[in-house]
Symmetry: C2
Subunit: 341 residues, 2 copies
Amino acid sequence: MLKWYQKQASENEIVLSSRVRLARNVADIPFNSCMTNEQRQQLNQKVTQALHNIHLGENKLHFVSLDSLNEMKRCAMVEKHIVSREFIRYPENRMLIISEDESIAIMVNEEDHLRIQVMANGLNLSEAYQICNMIDDVLDETLRYAFDETLGYLTSCPTNLGTGLRASVMMHLPALEHFGLISRLTSNISKLGMTIRGTYGEGSNVIGSLYQISNQITLGITEQDAIQNLESVTKQIIDAEVNARENLSKEKHRLEDMIFRSLGTLKYARMMSSKDFFETVSNLRLGIAMGYVDEISLITLNELMDLTGTATVCEQAGKELPPIERDYLRAKTIREKLAVE
Amino acid sequence: MLKWYQKQASENEIVLSSRVRLARNVADIPFNSCMTNEQRQQLNQKVTQALHNIHLGENKLHFVSLDSLNEMKRCAMVEKHIVSREFIRYPENRMLIISEDESIAIMVNEEDHLRIQVMANGLNLSEAYQICNMIDDVLDETLRYAFDETLGYLTSCPTNLGTGLRASVMMHLPALEHFGLISRLTSNISKLGMTIRGTYGEGSNVIGSLYQISNQITLGITEQDAIQNLESVTKQIIDAEVNARENLSKEKHRLEDMIFRSLGTLKYARMMSSKDFFETVSNLRLGIAMGYVDEISLITLNELMDLTGTATVCEQAGKELPPIERDYLRAKTIREKLAVE
């Protein structure tokens, strides 16, 4: 079965992925920080039962005890944005429910009792939200959510109060970055109640010109409005990036050179650090999006990103690797993937 | 007909080329700085007549008035080490005699009346000297050389007095350079009456780890001894470089990565400066010599070097080009050459 990031999607030249997640808590159990291990285990059981009759077609759900996975596997899931870094810190009594195509991930006993996350390729917030909402409804039938008529859904951290909804898009903005327009964008976006962050969320550096845009406001707004606001801001950023790319293409030779050197590096390097990988892939993604490169597809780049995270590479080798060996194996994986294309 | 640098040769993994040149002057004509233009023209005629009956098989000689060539063509010949920079500075009344395979170049009316130069691929000083000597004998039959029983051949510059012979080899020494061993080599060599210089001779920078080793002593030594001394020093440097390469190959992953990234760059870049070209070709040459790369031959690299000089690229375009266009055309030439391989 194809993973979500292997599927065709609209606007995927600039928007890599869309993500929606809902934070939910059950009314008659204390918040996570005050729970007993027994209560955590009971919650795992209740959620498993509640999802017993969900209908997702071929996209089956798998129920995984987090401590049944080894550390490498858990870190690989963080790299792939399937679970939060916070979630894998204390794996005991935590459960992950993940769909066959990896688009749906439900963390049980994270900061909140439930974190329901749905990912989609390209700009696909509405679809992701619909699936998230459907799962939310199914769970709501069995579990009684902690809900206040005025405040909305009660959450462990007050920043999530209300809708408990966080939606985000991962955008590739090399041209805006090239022209130094990101800081202006950041300030404009914050006025609209959105925030812009590095590749791996809060406090992380930007690598490969990848920016995560997400909503900040959860109180006094409907889930649908939050999704729509983010979608409309995303479309404005897409327009700005498209304009910047047009300006970039005025220096055609230099742009082409940067793109094709990156392609050459990806096809020939024998060692590839993670940073180096993100930078060359960023150039190549730009080259594909702008029509300079047609021998490689954006979906292949998505697959490459999925294969080459530090923990994922070690997982592939079946052991922890020193940096040199890791970079060597990463380069080999990239070459094989691009040769098959 | 194959050019000299397209022929197979021994030791060509480390020695790119061998060059021998003899400086000669005719007895009854003043040195170049004191000659009239009429005398220069007469000398051109005499030399042309003297070489009329020379037997070089298919490797025919062409007689070229230097001022019949345009500036680009003349600069291209300097890049290819066919003529000296000095020779093209004042093209009037100067004649170049060049063989079909470009291995033989006789400059008439350079600093000396005659500069007879023979080039060969790899380490081939003896062969180059033999041909040089044969041409020298033929010319000596007709022209009476300025010769002194004590001093030997008289030359315009006293540093050439005696044999008038300058022999040199162009060596590729990336491993000695990597380990910082070139300055020690330079000092050792100078004690043996040799000198080490950059890629384009005296005062030029080293690019692509290419070093020119040449003899300094022309007085009190036979031509044969000078050639033999240089050959034996060259062999010692080859041994030192081979040892250094073995040490270099201990960091296998890093070495391989450097080599293959350079191959990727040469195959994919859309702009290539001269410096960039020399550096990447240097890495690739090392990779071929050490057996990492087998899809490309050293002879192809020689051909590439012949095609990509700044003036040669402009000559190909038929006009002077701004740097960006030149670098673009150079990259295109490289890609086409490597794709055909």
